[in-house]
């Protein structure tokens, strides 16, 4: 479970996130939509403990992120927008390293199976990541997230730059993890994916969560219209 209570982040005069109250329960996939600078990534960075909040709280499974930064990480998997791996290591070695950091020690066979389960080509498994496409790296990232078997997953625009097929496969994997009871928070620009995979949708504007919707209560067209209207008001506001 992911929760924020009046979570605020300011950089001098600029308010990057303004009193955000959010809750993502197990089995939910909450998609955060919004223009660049709306506060999506800031929300994820705060939940991950990469930055400290100006005020408010963020909790993972009821544990305060600021007070227990290491403990909360045990309950979260994270996939950033541009997933970077160690280019001098192979996909398998990267997976072995990151699962090792989570305190797991799966065998090479198990690691290979994990990579295969996210559709990484067999011949790529033992190649150095420097030769991987973005989609292939994202797959390793998913394998890392899956292997950790955490209760929550945070994704920061994970499908940007992926080809449609890879994006589609990725959405299927997300749905699979959601159905297994993970609490997922995903920042995205992809309205279609948000509607298709998400259980809840939030639209952010200038650091504020302006709309919160259940995805099964709104059509894609309505979502698109609402989003564009919000963005338009953002421009007017700006």
């Amino acid at each position: 479970m992911l929760e924020t209570f009046n979570l605020t982040k300011k950089y001098g005069e600029l308010t990057a996130l303004d009193t955000l109250n959010l809750r993502v329960d197990a089995g939910e996939l909450f998609c955060l939509l919004g223009a660049n600078g709306a506060g999506k990534t800031t929300t994820i960075n705060l939940l991950m403990g990469f930055i400290q909040p100006t005020s408010g709280k963020a909790k993972v499974n009821g544990i305060d992120v600021v007070k227990n930064p290491v403990e909360t990480k045990k309950h979260i998997s994270y996939i950033p927008e541009n997933l970077s791996l160690y280019s001098n290591l192979t996909g398998l070695e990267n997976l072995q390293f990151f699962t090792g950091l989570s305190g797991l020690s799966p065998s090479k066979e198990e690691l290979t199976q994990m990579l295969e389960s996210v559709d990484l080509q067999k011949e790529a498994i033992h190649k150095r990541v420097s030769q991987y496409s973005k989609g292939m790296r994202q797959k390793v990232g998913i394998a890392i997230a899956k292997a950790k078997n955490a209760s929550s997953l945070l994704l920061d625009e994970p499908t940007s730059g992926l080809d449609p097929e890879a994006s589609n496969n990725f959405a299927s994997l997300l749905a699979e993890m959601r159905d297994k009871g993970m609490a997922i928070l995903m920042a995205t620009h992809d309205l279609f994916r948000a509607k298709e995979s998400g259980t809840h949708i939030g639209i952010m504007k200038s650091g504020e969560l302006v709309h919160t919707l259940k995805s099964d209560e709104i059509s894609l067209q309505e979502l698109e219209k609402l989003y564009l209207e919000t963005m338009k008001s953002t421009l007017t506001y700006a």
């Binding site: 960075n45 991950m48 403990g49 990469f50 930055i51 930064p69 290491v70 403990e71 990480k73 045990k74 979260i76 998997s77 994270y78 950033p80 541009n82 997933l83 970077s84 791996l85 160690y86 001098n88 290591l89 070695e93 390293f97 990151f98 090792g100 950091l101 989570s102 305190g103 150095r128 990232g141 890392i144 950790k148």
Partner: protein, 474 residues
């Protein structure tokens, strides 16, 4: 967890072509420098041993002479090269290797150092020590400068931190990973070079082993300090470029600017007298007496009176011993006394200068390591001084033996040219032997630097421990 990060760091680094190339270049340089130094040391040692034997042979076979002529004939003695000098030639290239020992004159190499004082703590030539002390830190910088900043720039740091890894563990892992690579390059080269020493011609005793182990520890600490500094700078730098510039600045400051500044400061604070002033002062004091009220002719008169009274005779001719022999030895002893007094002043100046270097070494790991390894390799100022003093003592002893023979055996009625000694007597004067100072003596001289290395290691460890959780993740 730590093991995992260390393993990843090693693997990632050894697969990096830039690291591969720089490591190969450095390793080649290191092996070449060590081998060249070792061969040079072997050659010099051989030459000096040969020269020592030849010179003693020349002394023994000088033919029949009056003992005082033999005292002027003199002997050359050579400074033996230290077994470990191949690791650090220290100040050896700037100091004399041989001293001519003769009557009335102190060996010049002792006070030639007054002019060379600033050289005692200046740069060496391209040697193993230079590679260890200046180039390996550069490799450490290249290995470490972007260890954090690149991860931050590329985003892997977020992923790593997101796995629940504390920044302290990550910092320690990166530090130990890089350090392992450095030790992997350094330890085999230094061990192999040591075990390849020609044991048939070089005596390697326990002291040498101990000094060798201490040199390894000193360098290991030095490299660890540089790795700690590099990892910390990388962790807190905005980006890789800033990290590299900062680290190169630190390298330049600690390895180039501070040692030079310390040498200049030492010279400014404690100026050494010129050789000319030194000699003049001795000559004047010998001539006029230490206090200026006891000229040499008065001293001679007083001595004559004392000797005549001792033997209860009226004239020199009545003495049962050779007056000239007594007078010569008394002159020697007076000159020695003046010399000791003057030299102790100069020696104090050198000591003060080196103390400045030692204290700065406490704050500068490069200087501390340089001073300590030079001392352990037997090529520092204190070793040279010990040798010079030993040679001077030997000179005094053999001149005394010759004067004593003259005093006792050269009867006054025998003309100078008619009293001669030969090979048998010359052989009674043993060849010069020099005993290298023990480890304890060296550590006593360089304790500040040694302590400085531990101080830096602990202090940086504490800084890492306290501030590691403030390392920016974005």
């Amino acid at each position: 967890m730590l093991k995992l990060i260390i393993k990843k760091e090693i693997l990632s680094n050894i697969r990096d072509p830039r690291i591969q190339i720089s490591s190969i270049v450095l390793l080649t340089l290191l092996v070449t420098a060590v081998l060249v130094s070792k061969e040079g040391q072997k050659r010099i040692q051989h030459e000096r041993e040969q020269a020592m034997a030849q010179m003693y042979d020349v002394w023994v076979n000088q033919g029949e002479k009056h003992p005082h002529s033999a005292a002027h004939y003199g002997q050359f003695v050579f400074k033996p090269t230290s077994v470990l000098s191949f690791l650090d030639t220290g100040i050896d290239p700037y100091t004399g290797v041989s001293i001519f020992l003769e009557a009335h004159r102190q060996n010049e190499v002792l006070y030639a150092r007054a002019q060379e004082s600033t050289n005692l703590i200046r740069f060496g030539e391209l040697t193993a020590a230079l590679v260890f002390q200046m180039l390996i830190p550069l490799l450490i910088i290249f290995l470490t400068f972007n260890s954090f900043s690149r991860e931050r720039e590329e985003g892997t740091l977020k992923l790593v931190h997101g796995q629940g890894l504390s920044m302290r563990t990550l910092l320690n892992g990166k530090l130990l990973g890089t350090y392992s690579i450095v030790l992997f390059l350094f330890i085999p080269v230094i061990l192999i070079s040591f075990f390849l020493l020609d044991r048939q011609s070089i005596a390697i005793d326990k002291q040498v082993y101990l000094k060798f182990v201490l040199i390894i520890i000193a360098y290991a600490l030095y490299f660890f300090i540089f790795t700690q500094i590099s990892a910390l700078v990388s962790a807190f730098s905005r980006n890789s470029a800033a990290s590299l510039i900062t680290l190169l600045g630190i390298w330049c400051l600690s390895c180039v600017i501070v040692p030079k500044a310390a040498a200049d400061l030492a010279e400014k604070l404690y100026p050494a007298p010129s050789q000319f002033d030194f000699r003049n002062s001795i000559a004047e004091k010998v001539q006029n007496g230490i206090d200026g009220h006891n000229p040499s002719d008065e001293r001679l008169s007083a001595l004559r009176e004392q000797v005549l009274s001792e033997y209860n005779v009226e004239t020199i001719e009545e003495l049962p011993v050779n007056w000239r022999g007594i007078a010569l030895q008394a002159g020697e002893e007076y000159t020695d006394m003046v010399y000791d007094q003057e030299f102790s002043n100069v020696e104090q100046v050198f000591k003060n200068q080196n103390q400045v270097s030692e204290w700065v070494g406490f704050l500068n790991p490069y200087l501390a390591t340089r001073n300590l390894t030079m001392g352990l390799a037997g090529t520092d100022y204190s070793h040279h001084l010990t040798f010079a003093k030993a040679a001077e003592n030997y000179r005094r002893e053999f001149v005394k033996v010759l004067n004593k023979d003259m005093e006792l055996n050269h009867a006054p009625d025998i003309a100078y040219a008619d009293y001669k000694l030969g090979k048998e007597f010359w052989q009674t004067i043993e060849p010069f032997e020099y005993e290298v100072p023990q480890v304890a003596t060296t550590l006593n001289v360089h304790w500040k630097g040694s302590l400085g290395l531990f101080f830096w290691t602990i202090m940086l460890g504490l800084i890492a421990s306290i501030y590691s959780n403030k390392i920016p993740k974005l």
